[in-house]
Amino acid sequence: MVSKLLRRQIERVVRPVQASPLRKNRMREELLAHLTRLYEEEGDRCSGDRDMALAAAVARFGEPAVLRRELQGTVPVWERISWRPLPGFPRVERQPGETITGLLARGARWVLALSAMTWLSVFVVVLLFDRPGGHTISLLNLSIAALAGTAAMLAGILGHPLVCEAIRQEWVALPARGSPNRVIALVRLLACTIVAVALMAGLIPAFLALINVVAGFPIFTGRLLWGLSLATAAISLPLTAVQVRGLQQFEDWGSLEIDGEMVS
């Protein structure tokens, strides 16, 4: 509970800063370490009165608005511009209080819209350049590819974060060494990781296989598709780790409500 109060104070300072997530997470961690120490020191002085200690620690630490300006001044201009939200565009990042499924439901609309635009464009091109008597791309094959491609994209792009969330929860709840349930928990963790890696690793080869379907003959050989799967699997493991870490960062920081809210 105290940790959450301290994090909320830090988040008031750091969240509005326009900077890369990496820089902001570093600020959060360092500032939290200092504020925690301040709180402990003030706790000793205030004979354990939590509210007084927190107020005293925050007073010593500084006004959020002032600190925020000072921190913003340390961010290079190019980084500030790169991470500034685009006006008129909806915020894509997860909002405080939003579940992972809520975020994915928002994302699904964009994925479907993008997929529909892409495949419609392909259809139009095929129809425009289809010549009687020449080699044509089967519209049936194209339709199958469009549906299968959209399904694959949804499974990969949206399914992966869901599995990463499962990995995060398993990791957080992992029993201590020596616990009888640890082995089962590790097996579950490994299974989730394999599923996550497979989802990402299968995306590119799946699309290439669909191109084979559309073309009506194997442009990309089976050996190439397998090779790509293995290569993508190698990349998707660290990417999965990054996504899991990002989800945990949200649990630690991003889920905190900071606007106009009483600290409780």
Binding site: V13, E29, L31, L32, G62, L67
Partner: protein, 113 residues
Amino acid sequence: MRAIEGDRLRGHLEGLILAALEGGAGHGWEIWSRLEESAAGLLRLKEGSLYPALYRLERERLIVGRWESDASGRRGPRRRVYRLTPKGRRQLVAARGEWRQFVNVIGGLLGAT
């Protein structure tokens, strides 16, 4: 003796941090403690302002920071330990020279030297 308040102090904070690190590497809390001890409690600056100064110094490569290793056995958020770079040491020497000149000139005008 009157305490030295935020605005008068802020322009010199980076030099003070370099001086605090001259004795050895330290994280933010340690740096602040060294400053407080040296100033006998007469510094009145919000402690959070230390970190923007540290980031500016790191950007200018006058100090370099790395995360404390987990082997320290401490619980809680990680701390970043900073140390002076050779460029930082040269800057500290230059800053001392400038300060002595400042004190001599202004002190002479005020009749305080």
